[in-house]
Amino acid sequence: MLLISKVETFYGNIQALRGVDVKVNSGEIVTLIGSNGAGKSTLLMTISGVNKASTGEILFDDQHIENLPPHEIVNLGISQVPEGRRIFSRLSVEDNLRLGASAYDKGKNFDTDVKDVYDLFPVLKDRLNQRGGTLSGGEQQMLAIGRAMMARPKMLLLDEPSLGIAPKLVNQIFIAIKNINKQKKVTIFLVEQNAKKALELADRGYVLVNGNVTLEGTGQDLLKNKDIQAAYLEGGGKK
C-alpha cells in the first residue's frame, strides 16, 4: 500500500533521513521505533508532504506522492496525527472535528462520521463545546486521532500518540488504534518511543537509527531481539 524507497530528507544542510526503505501492506499495523533524533517524525512528515524528500520515491497505492502538496496527499487517503497532537486549542472540540472532515467532503457526512469517532472515544461527545485547549493530554490525543479519522483515511500516520499522556490513557489509546485497524480496516503506520507497547501491537516493525533503517521484522521477533531489548526496552541494557 505504501512503498518508501531510498528517501533522503534534509533540514537545510542537516540530513535527517539517509536512504530509508519502508513498506506497509494494506491492513497492517507497522511501527517505526527509534531514539530521539533518529528521524522518525521526519519520515512521517515526509510521507504526509509537510517536509519534502530531496531524493527517493514514495508510492501510495502505486501512485507517486513524493512531490504532492500535503492537502492532496490527505485527499488520497493518508491522514496524519502529528506529534504533540497539535489540536486547535482556541477552537471548540466540534470545530476541530469539522476541520478534519473538511478535507474529505467539506463536511457533508459530518454527522455520520462523527458517530464513529464517538464510538472510539465516547469522552469527546461530552466535551463537544469545550475549547480544545481545555482538554487533558489524553483527551487531546483522542481528539487528534478522531480529527484525523474524520477524513475517512485509508491509512493513518500516528506520531508518538503516547507522548506525555497518563499510562492509563495510553492503554485506551492503543486499544483504540487496534480497533481502528481491525474494525475500520485502516492501515496504521505508528511511530513510537514506547517501543514495547508499539511492538506488541504491531504486525511488523522497523528500527530507525540516525536516519537509516537498521532492523526490520515482525513485532514479536523484534521484541525478542537482544539488541533491541538492550537499546529500547526497559531493563534489557543492564545485563
Binding site: V74, N75, L99, T134
Partner: protein, 425 residues
C-alpha cells in the same frame, strides 16, 4: 513578600521616571525659540519635571493596584470580568438595541448634521475594522497596509464613475473586485511570511500603493486628487435641489421639500447597510469550512497541512475577502467625499484601523464597535482642543492596554454550540 514587592515597585517607578526623563527631556524640555532672528534654546525643565513625576507616580500606582498579584482580584480582572459577563449574558439584546438605535438615529431630535457626519465616519471605520478583522482576527495575518485596499476601492470607484459615468451600484462591486485582486496580489508574495515579517511587508505594500497613486499622474492626477466624483443616487433618483426639465429627483418623486440632509441620511443608511453586510458575512463564514480553516490556520499551520487544509488558498481568500470589504468601504468614502487624494490613505489610517481591531479584542465583532466608538469618538470630543487630541488618543490606548491587555473583548464566543448553550471558559 509584601515588602519586596513595595521595594521593587518603587525601583520600577523610578526607572520609569528615568525613561520619561530621557524621552521628554529633549522633546519637551529643549524648546527652540526665535529671538532677534536667532534660534535660541529656551529650556522648560519645570514641565519636564511634572511629566516625569506623573509618569513615575502613574507607574507606581498601576504597580500597586493593577499589577499587584497579592490582590486576588485586581481592578484589571474585575473590570474585565464584569464587561465580559455583561456582554455574554446580554450580547444579543445589546447588539439588537444597537442596531435599532442606529436605524432610528437620523430621526432623533438631537441629531444634527455634525452628529450625522461623525456617525457616518464611525460606521466607515467600523466597516473597515470588521473587514480587517477577517484578516487579523480570523486568519491571524497581521496586515498593517489595509488602507491600500481602501485606497484601491476609492480610486477604482472614482475612475470608473468619472470616466464611464457608471452608477454607484455598478461601480461598488467592481471596486470590491479590484480591491480583492490587489489583496491576492499582496497575498502571493507573503504566503511564506509570518508575524513581524508579514507585518513589515504589508506595511510596505500600503505605502507602495499610496506612492503609486501619488506619482501616476496620468491616471490618478497625483497629489491634485480626483474631483467631481458622482454622488450616489437613490436607485436612479438623484439628490438635487434644482432638477432639470423633466428630471425626477428624490424630493420631487416623494413629494418632499428639498433638504441637504436627505442625502446625508441616505449616505448614513448606505454605510450602515454595508457595514452590517460585512458583519453578517463574517458571522456566517465562520461557520463554513473556509472560515473554520482561517481560524485553524491562525492556531496551527502544520496541523492544518496534515489535515488537508490548503494553506495557500486559505490565506489568499482571507486576504482577498478582507480586501474586498476594504474596497467597498473605499468606494463609499469616495462617493461621500466627492474628492479623493492620496493624502486620505496614509499609514496613520492603517494604524487606526489596526488599533481598532487589536484594542477591540482580535476577532471580536462587538469589540470593533466599542473600540471605534471609543477611539474615533474620543478624537471628535477633543476636536475643540486640537493640541490635546493625540494625547487623549495615546492615553486611551495606554488605558486599554493596562486594563484590557488583550483587547476590550478578549474572550470570543464559540463559533457554534450544539445541544445546549454552555459558556466556554
Amino acid at each position: 513578600m509584601r515588602k519586596n514587592f513595595l521595594v521593587s515597585s518603587i525601583k520600577d517607578s523610578l526607572f520609569t521616571g528615568l525613561i520619561a526623563l530621557a524621552l521628554f527631556g529633549p522633546i519637551v524640555g529643549l524648546r527652540t525659540v526665535a529671538k532677534n532672528e536667532v534660534l535660541v534654546v529656551s529650556p522648560k525643565w519645570f514641565i519636564v519635571l511634572v511629566i516625569v513625576i506623573v509618569c513615575a507616580l502613574g507607574r507606581f500606582l498601576t504597580n500597586l493596584y493593577i499589577y499587584n498579584r497579592d490582590q486576588k482580584y485586581g481592578i484589571q480582572s474585575t473590570v474585565g470580568k464584569s464587561i465580559t459577563k455583561f456582554l455574554d449574558t446580554k450580547g444579543t439584546q445589546i447588539a439588537l438595541s444597537a442596531i435599532i438605535f442606529s436605524v432610528i438615529f437620523p430621526f432623533l431630535p438631537f441629531t444634527d448634521r455634525y452628529l450625522m457626519d461623525i456617525a457616518i465616519m464611525m460606521l466607515t471605520y467600523i466597516m473597515l475594522g470588521w473587514g480587517l478583522n477577517i484578516v487579523i482576527g480570523l486568519a491571524g495575518l497581521l496586515d498593517l497596509g489595509y488602507v491600500a485596499f481602501y485606497a484601491v476601492g476609492a480610486y477604482s470607484y472614482a475612475l470608473f464613475a468619472i470616466h464611464f459615468g457608471w452608477s454607484f451600484w455598478i461601480c461598488l462591486p467592481i471596486a470590491g473586485i479590484f480591491a480583492a485582486m490587489f489583496g491576492v496580489l499582496l497575498g502571493f508574495p507573503v504566503l511564506r511570511l509570518r508575524g513581524d515579517y508579514l507585518a513589515i511587508v504589508t506595511l510596505a505594500f500600503g505605502e507602495m500603493i499610496r506612492i503609486l497613486l501619488l506619482n501616476w499622474y496620468q491616471l490618478t492626477k497625483g497629489p491634485d486628487g480626483l474631483t467631481g466624483i458622482p454622488r450616489p443616487s437613490f436607485f436612479g433618483l438623484p439628490f438635487k435641489s434644482f432638477p432639470e426639465e423633466g428630471e425626477q429627483t428624490f424630493h420631487t418623486f416623494f413629494g418632499l421639500e428639498y433638504s441637504p440632509m436627505q442625502r446625508i441620511i441616505f449616505l448614513y443608511y448606505l454605510i450602515l447597510v454595508l457595514a452590517l453586510i460585512t458583519n453578517l458575512f463574517t458571522i456566517k463564514i465562520r461557520r463554513l469550512p473556509i472560515g473554520r480553516a482561517w481560524e485553524a490556520l491562525r492556531e496551527d499551520e502544520i496541523a492544518c497541512k496534515s489535515l488537508g487544509v490548503n494553506p495557500r488558498n486559505t490565506k489568499l481568500t482571507a486576504f482577498a475577502i478582507g480586501a474586498m470589504f476594504g474596497g467597498f468601504a473605499g468606494s463609499f468614502f469616495a462617493t461621500r467625499q466627492a474628492f479623493i487624494s492620496p493624502e486620505s490613505f496614509t499609514f496613520i489610517e492603517s494604524a487606526i484601523i489596526v488599533a481598532i481591531v487589536v484594542l477591540g479584542g482580535m476577532g471580536s465583532q462587538t469589540g470593533v464597535v466599542l473600540a471605534t466608538v471609543f477611539l474615533i469618538g474620543l478624537i471628535e470630543v477633543f476636536r475643540d482642543f486640537e493640541s490635546y487630541r493625540m494625547i487623549a488618543f495615546g492615553g486611551a490606548m495606554v488605558l486599554i492596554m493596562i486594563f484590557r491587555p488583550r483587547g476590550i473583548l478578549a474572550t470570543r464566543k464559540p463559533t457554534i454550540t450544539l445541544h445546549k448553550k454552555e459558556v466556554i471558559k
